[in-house]
Symmetry: C2
Subunit: 110 residues, 2 copies
DNA sequence: TATTTATATCGTAATATTGCAATATAAATA
DNA sequence: TATTTATATTGCAATATTACGATATAAATA
């Protein structure tokens, strides 16, 4: 059916999935890495960085923004993008949970 | 066209994307959370936990396994699953990088 | 060995994602 | 105000994902 049964999962599970899914594309990883490198930049810079057409980059930026992972502010007729701490904080806790679990358990399976 | 242009991105970007994408579904988040809770369990337990049919759960387990996030060992005629530290370590570094960047930068955008 | 139990695979329908050309929008500038 | 510059949106084709019934496989057990 192709439709995820979101209503059967908890809000937390759905939120984490939305965040991870947004990160789960190499172009969006590249955008995040570039924003870390230059701190903030206008959309056109990202178009020049990536091997993708402008509408495609715009779409990836939109998805990152919808997930709460980046922010965009108008700066003249351009839009300045940067990472959004809020989104990353939400998923950070999940990975810290996993990490501390994995550190404490015996490293054998079953 | 629906096909990701993986060949235009770095190996690291593609690897991170594969891992994040595998995590990016509520059912797979639920599986990871359950494995943390019970340490390890057979597939049937997960089928009972999730609101999904057995073939669907099997498919999600396969994706997590392919991404290197879980392992499965035969245990009689059942298969015992648990988290795979290796996969989570790969993505851990990425989030630590982001976290330390966000902690050090001024919290304003552009 | 026939049956049961546990899991995987196949096939398929419904939906989502990716990518881009064409076009729209909106601010800056000539 | 007409043009340029920067970004978003629309529409569409190609591909991927999600879900599950039916079925296959493989170990355990009667």
């Amino acid at each position: 059916m192709g439709i995820t049964k979101s209503e059967h999962f908890t809000d937390e599970q759905n939120e984490l999935a939305v965040l991870a899914k947004a990160i789960g594309h190499p172009a969006r990883i590249a955008i995040i890495q570039h924003l870390i490198k230059v701190n903030s930049c206008v959309c056109g810079d990202i178009v020049n960085e990536l091997p993708l057409a402008q509408p495609t980059v715009s779409q990836h930026l939109k998805e990152l923004k919808n997930a709460g992972l980046i922010r965009g502010n108008f700066e003249g007729n351009a839009i300045c993008y940067c990472l959004n701490e809020e989104g990353f904080n939400k998923i950070k806790g999940f990975f810290q949970h996993i990490t501390s679990y994995l550190e404490n358990k015996k490293n054998q399976c079953c």
